[in-house]
Symmetry: C2
Subunit: 129 residues, 2 copies
Amino acid sequence: MARTPQPTDAELRLLKVLWERGGSTARAVLEALPARRKVGYTTVLKILQVMEEKGLVSVDRGARSHVYSPRAGRGPTMRRLVADFVQRTFDGATDEMLVHLVDGRALDDAALNELEARVAALRGREEDR
Amino acid sequence: MARTPQPTDAELRLLKVLWERGGSTARAVLEALPARRKVGYTTVLKILQVMEEKGLVSVDRGARSHVYSPRAGRGPTMRRLVADFVQRTFDGATDEMLVHLVDGRALDDAALNELEARVAALRGREEDR
DNA sequence: CATGACGTACGATAGGTGTCGTACGTTGGA
DNA sequence: TCCAACGTACGACACCTATCGTACGTCATG
């Protein structure tokens, strides 16, 4: 069976709003969109309808204004997007991706600490084997 | 002035061949393509022609078979692709991207060492300020 | 010198995406 | 009650991408 497809860019923008706000009407999503990204109301509605067809959101048609909710969580969705990108762009070479990402980029201390902790944790797990 | 556009997926596949082999004819690129990715000869030629229009490759029309060469290096191109992806997907939050990337993924010791070294280098630079 | 292999140019196509416009139904308040 | 505001459904559109088919030129060699 084919998995539910990846969200497109426009779809991802709306999903971010839904993850943030929880179930929302089309109008609520429209109004929560970042100012730079304003778009027509019917555009938002259309994208939500397409996402429902694709299985990316569920919809409650109880009230007059339908309420849309994300089907998949933010974490798993993002992970799939990242995995696909690494596959497409680096033929799956995660380490190379990491190098490009860390290099020449502004990461604050907190981010570096977080990263080191995760690296340490991973290393520990490898040594267990 | 608008910068030269990002390569699409199909274009990137051909660019990888050009980076690997250096300047090549359409036929050479076709034959160097991974077996799983075989495609018609005119498809390859067309993509190369489109890339020339976009400024992604240069072409030497001296010989009967034109020779195509990448205009930008692999490193800068990949960096731009990664930066765009992080922007689109994580609204520029590189640290979050890193977390998703490192988490639950098979990185061997060498990759972890490399990563730690880069983190250390970055940390050093920050402390200089 | 004729012909087949090779090469290029160019148009066509199918599928996907992002954006709306329009038609039409519903509903709450003047 | 009735109409303006709100909501949905649906089709249209322009733009990209990826892929190929066809027309046509050239060149070497039998």
